[in-house]
Amino acid sequence: MIFDAKHEMIRKLAREFAENELEPIANDVDKTGVYPQDVWDKVARYGFTGITIPKEYGGMGGDFKALSIVCEEFCAKDVSASSLIMGNSLSGEPFQMFGTEEQKQKYLVPLAKGEKIASFGLTEPGAGCDAGSVSTTAVEDGDYYILNGRKTFITMAPFCDYVTIFAKTDLHSGTHGITAFIVESNWEGFSTGKPEEKMGIHGSQTSDIILENVRVPKSNILGKVGRGFNIAMSILDAGRVTVASQSLGAAKGALDEAVKYSKERVQFGRPISKFQNTQFTLADMATKVEAARQLVYSAADKLDHGQKVTTEAAMAKYFASEIANEVAYKSVQIHGGYGYMKDYAIERIYRDARILPIYEGTSEIQKLVISRSVLADK
């Protein structure tokens, strides 16, 4: 495999942390929707908030493989836990890749240190998969832009300190008329909707963001005017690898629960792991988890080598998120009636996994991306 001793040590750390700090509270977080402050503090203290952020901006200077490893191990115990380390991906990447030095100091450094939370505001009620059709507007007014519009399903919006908002600065230029802005949540005219009541990943809160005449200084334009869509698209590849890692974690967690339960559960005088049907089901699950793992880390490795991974990221995200659901389904089946009960972790994993083939590009969008590559003239 493509890991070195450093990655193995990071996996050891992430696994210990997840077992000791995340697994014991996963059911409570599922009920309350909130991680205790103590957990946020520890995640920051041990460097998980800034894994891929460069050292000069307060991060750890790690690679995408390290991030994927942490994401896999955290999510194997609690699928929501990826929200604790979002600064490494959708929240922090825009600043890291496109921010000015001043913007990096102001917005990236606090994310790396876990002092602030940022969100990514692309999706709108009418702009989901069709991200180019955003209708939030930004109108120039001297040294400012005035932003109006509504963003929807924004992860961690209820807690965020600032957010990257994609808005139309030119209504007639299609995707070329979109610009990215860094908007602080305490600015006048910024508000968030009621947190959504979701099927799963309750620890990751989601709500609308409402922008009513929010005055954003021009110094908070991220990248160039009219280049917002390119920013969004170029960040998505890494984001998809992160969700693929999260999916891999969910799948691993579901498999682990199935293995554990099948050894404990006795029917017809022996553990159900002794029955061939269980064995074959577990073999099928384990094979698919391993296949997903190879796809995920292959894509992460290519990202680390600066290669374009649009197709590989889409494949990893598509496959890992789909098999996370398949493995969770089979794990519930192995658990029988107990798997339907909240006393067992698999009930939570099954609900949590359902978002994975939907957000950060549905499986259908991933297939669109993959097929374009397959059919492209070479």
Partner: protein, 264 residues
């Protein structure tokens, strides 16, 4: 202040089995870990460093094969400044006496230490001898079984764990203190600490037999007065019985059981 921490890489005995015939530990597939009590010693050192990061330097010292560097990297990733590994075939097979000779020689070479911390004992040998032996050989005071450590200038006040209580002992630096699990909860490694450790392998210095002031008759297998003839896992005791019910019911069950066995 310069603090030395003794650390040992040991098999994770939580998952260890012994061969019932030979009595030997089945080492195959058993992961190696930082000895748990040594992690407490390192945590104690790092807590002292947390209070004055600029002026406290923590060096971890170990003896073992090259693979012990993995454990030393773990110590660096937790926050130690650097590490020394005494590694040489000529140290191999040492018992506690020969081991403490080698480690004391390494520490003597470091020289300007103020405080040495070590775990109470290693989970593979369970002797609790190496720490006290090192202190004797260095000619410095020692306090064992520390469950609390307070530092004031050059004075160290240690709460020393006893079976039925504790002692408060005041000691002057330089001194050697062995630590128990109740002293603290060791921190995790830090992600950046791991990356730093592997990016800077020069933070671990390896000393061979020739690098320290020691003679072959003081260390290694042949210099070791202790010979282990056999080791064995004690036969497991029979499973206990949990009594259930009201106090009266449990007492009745207990009395019936004792009478049945003719104890009363």
């Amino acid at each position: 202040m310069k603090i030395l921490v003794c650390a040992k890489q040991v098999p994770n005995t939580k998952n260890v089995t012994t061969d019932p015939v030979t009595g030997r530990i089945n080492r195959e597939g058993v992961e190696s870990i930082l000895n748990p009590d040594d992690a407490n010693a390192l945590e104690a050192a790092l807590e002292i460093k947390d209070k004055d990061p600029e002026n406290v330097h923590v060096t971890v010292i170990s003896m073992g094969p090259d693979q012990a560097k993995e454990m030393l990297n773990e110590c660096l990733a937790m926050g130690a400044d650097d590490a020394i590994l005494l590694s040489d075939r000529r140290f191999g097979g040492s018992d506690t006496w020969a081991t403490s000779n080698a480690i004391a020689a390494g520490m003597a070479k470091v020289g300007d230490y103020d405080l040495i911390l070590g775990g109470r004992q290693a989970i593979d040998g369970d002797t609790a001898q190496v720490g006290p032996q090192i202190a004797e050989k260095l000619g410095i005071p020692q306090v064992t079984y520390a469950e609390d450590i307070k530092i004031d200038g050059k004075t160290v006040t240690v709460k020393r764990q006893l079976e039925d209580g504790y002692e408060i002992i005041e000691v002057q630096m330089p001194c050697f203190i062995t630590c128990v699990a109740e002293l603290n909860t060791p921190r995790y490694m830090n992600v950046g600490g791991i990356i730093e450790a592997y990016d800077h392998p020069e933070r671990i210095t390896t000393w061979s037999f020739d690098d320290v002031d020691i003679k072959q008759e003081e260390t290694g297998l042949k210099a070791s007065p202790t010979n282990v003839f056999t080791s064995f896992a004690p036969a497991p005791k029979g499973a206990g019985v949990m009594l259930e019910g009201t106090d009266q019911e449990m007492v009745d069950q207990l009395m019936a059981s004792l009478k049945e066995k003719h104890y009363i």
